[in-house]
Symmetry: C2
Subunit: 457 residues, 2 copies
């Protein structure tokens, strides 16, 4: 693996991109290599993300495969797809050989089925090939899909001296050692050693006598979000992955968990904003429309639904036209309260701070809605009385309706995520347009029903 460079100050400038493009177009390979050699592979990937794919190909073919494999891993998925399409199966296999098994499997998983097999059969190192094939079989959302086969393990029967000798060999293939896992002859995980302990131990001691028998681990089928939770909670930097028999299969390191956390956060944020698939500002208008239109259509149904309710009260509209002035207020408030309530529940569910007691929680939201409702209704009453000069009975109607709508919105916002969670559906989809839409309809309905009761039309 390439060394980390002193590059905290790396800035992707237009001048830099232009310079790279000039070097490519005039085939000044030596100057280009010298220039790029100064950068970390993550920075080279950032540069490549700004180029078109032909230029990207040029750089990939120019640099040595040790660097380009890491660059491939870091670059934008769309450009990588293009680059991989234009490399031969043999060339891809050469890049793959340089990567850790988890990264290799991630890149291979993006290839079409037939090409995938072609590339795999071109991987020369048999052990690497078999390990990658094993990893490809796991679901990408499970511990198995995230783990790497690279790890340092010792058998309980070894001595410290033998251990140190063999670890040096194993450590060649492992970027960071973290923990040394201790296994039985049958590869069953029974404990761990820290490198620190190993350095301090006497050379003739048996591993069986010095290992730490307590070791955290996850099951190969565990959800990646749960793995992230465990590693964050216990401040772990690596965790071994085992199967039902506790056989050691691989390990997950914290840098992958950092990526998972960032992706999860982005996904939840986008869901809350009503975007269905992971998109970026740079994606095409077609991609962006595909991600955005579904939620807009759901929101449209809510808006039309509210319209149907309004038109069904067309008699009242003529008698009390002032009621319609407050439709946007009712709708906005119902939406905002619903989103707030659901966001708090969704986060509580994600952080495991919400445990059962649905009724208690709904009662609390009821009280909260009452407090907020009275505060807002009081202000609105003053505005409607003095500014809009609505009649006394209409003002009362609006106040009562506002409080009722806020309480309803808080209850729906709380109840729906909990219900989804119980049904095994990601409650994050509840926030955003989904809650807003249902609250649009129910809010307007409650408003007109209360108006009907009080004003008697």
């Amino acid at each position: 693996m390439s060394e980390e460079k002193e590059n905290i100050q790396f800035q992707l400038t237009e001048e830099l991109i232009e310079q790279v493009e000039t070097f490519i177009e005039s085939h000044r390979d030596k100057e280009l290599t010298t220039l790029l050699d100064e950068f970390h592979y993550a920075d080279i990937a950032e540069i490549i993300d700004e180029l078109d794919w032909e230029h990207a190909m040029y750089i990939i073919r120019l640099l040595d495969s040790e660097t380009t494999s890491d660059v491939l891993m870091e670059m934008d998925e769309d450009i990588r797809e293009k680059v991989l399409e234009n490399l031969s199966a043999k060339e891809i296999a050469e890049e793959i050989e340089e990567l850790d098994t988890d990264d290799a499997a991630d890149i291979l998983a993006e290839l079409p089925e037939d090409r995938l097999h072609e590339v795999i059969s071109n991987i020369e190192d048999e052990e690497h090939r078999e390990e990658i094939k094993e990893l490809l079989a796991y679901d990408e959302d499970t511990a198995g899909g995230l783990m790497a086969k690279e790890l340092v393990k010792v058998y309980e029967t070894w001595t410290v001296a033998g251990c140190l000798r063999r670890i040096r060999g194993q450590a060649q293939n492992v970027k960071r050692v973290h923990s040394v896992y201790v296994v039985t002859k049958q590869e069953k995980l029974i404990g761990r050693l820290s490198l620190k302990d190993l350095i301090s131990a006497k050379t003739d001691q048996k591993i069986a006598d010095i290992y730490i028998p307590s070791v955290d681990y996850v099951h190969v089928n565990d959800d990646v979000e749960d793995v992230a939770k465990v590693m964050a909670k216990y401040d772990l930097e690596a965790i071994p992955v085992v199967d039902d028999d506790k056989t050691l299969l691989g390990r997950i390191t914290i840098d992958d968990i950092v990526d998972v956390l960032k992706e999860e956060a982005d996904k939840d944020y986008q869901l809350a904003a009503g975007i269905t698939t992971d998109v970026e500002a740079d994606d095409s208008i077609f991609e962006l429309t595909k991600a955005r239109l579904p939620w807009l259509l759901i929101g449209m149904c809510g808006g039309l639904g509210a319209g149907v309710i309004i038109s069904s009260f067309s008699g009242a509209m003529k008698m009390f036209p002032e009621l319609l002035i407050f439709v946007p207020l009712i709708q906005a408030t119902a939406g905002n309260v619903g989103v707030q309530s659901s966001a708090i529940v969704v986060q509580g569910l994600a952080n495991d701070t919400i445990k059962g007691e649905i009724l208690k929680r709904l009662f609390k939201e009821f009280l909260l809605g009452l407090v907020n409702g009275i505060a807002i209704a009081s202000i609105v009453l003053l505005v409607s009385h003095f500014y809009f000069e609505t009649a006394y009975v209409e003002s009362i109607t609006i106040g009562v309706a506002l409080i009722s709508v806020i309480i309803m919105a808080a209850l729906i916002g709380t109840f729906i995520p909990i219900l989804l969670d119980k049904k095994g559906i990601d409650p994050a989809i509840a926030t955003g347009p989904f809650i807003t839409t249902s609250n649009d309809i129910f809010g307007i309905l409650i408003y007109f029903l209360i108006a009907k009761m009080i004003l008697g039309f």
Copy 2:
């Protein structure tokens, strides 16, 4: 530090809480100690979070300070505050002595000023005391506020043998070594060694001959979010912190970055949902109202503003009452589009994928709004024509208004976060009720203005 236990399966059950409470109330200290000894300190903290603070105090006083200091660190802030209030300055100082400097400073920062000084003067280890005082001086949002003083460093003049001997001593105070930093006599950071390299090197070699001169670092005043970005990008598990002279001041480890990322994600999510301060489902109704009411009031202003616009078109309301049926649709669509556009920009700004080119981005949003607008307007035209049986000219009005409103919402949603970012304000506050509210007003205004133009009232 206590060992990690085999506790991946830890489940906080009501039976467990009840058992702990029974033991406390009947003073069965030995059974309680035996029970708690089986758990990781993060789990004990979870148990304590479910108890009242007197019971929490009981456990803190019962267990040894090595365990309780870690438990204190992990437990809920509100309960910790209560517990710290009821411990003497000397007792707190004893807990602090067991913690790493960064955790110690974090806990101390929560104490009131006078008590803080009292606790610090009770810390017996002078070096620890001075280090903590240094850390307390840094802003909590900077690298200085996140770093710990514990690290392993060697001078370039040492030999590998001398190095190994001294590292063993230093490593006693460091939970995980990660990298060994190489400094000059003047404490200037010049490079690093990996433990792996050190094990493989010959014992009589000089550090100056074997160290790796390229080393990533951050400046003590760098923003924590930037530190997180750098560590995630370069897959670093620890990074040294230096001052202007490159003097080595401390180091930041990835576990703290994981916490930063989670807090940032939670904060952004809550801002998007219109919650102003960090609250949890368990907080009091007063706390929750304080976090939620401000946004509801802003939303209320938007709703009332839209109401003012409607009432100012009261003549049109009487002539074309069907127009009012579509007010909820206009409002819902404007809100949804605005939130979607702003969310994409906010994420783009956070991930540095948006670089300048505001006009290009606005033009893209214009096109996107046009595509989405035409799609939605077509459906609405059909519904309004066949279901609501609106007149031909009214249908046209609604269609044109919808397209215009969607384009406007997309442009406002894109422009506001970029503007805030340029002004140095966190653009995340733009999503959620803020965008929705401004779009409520502008959406309704555009709707009626277009209706006025086409229908001519």
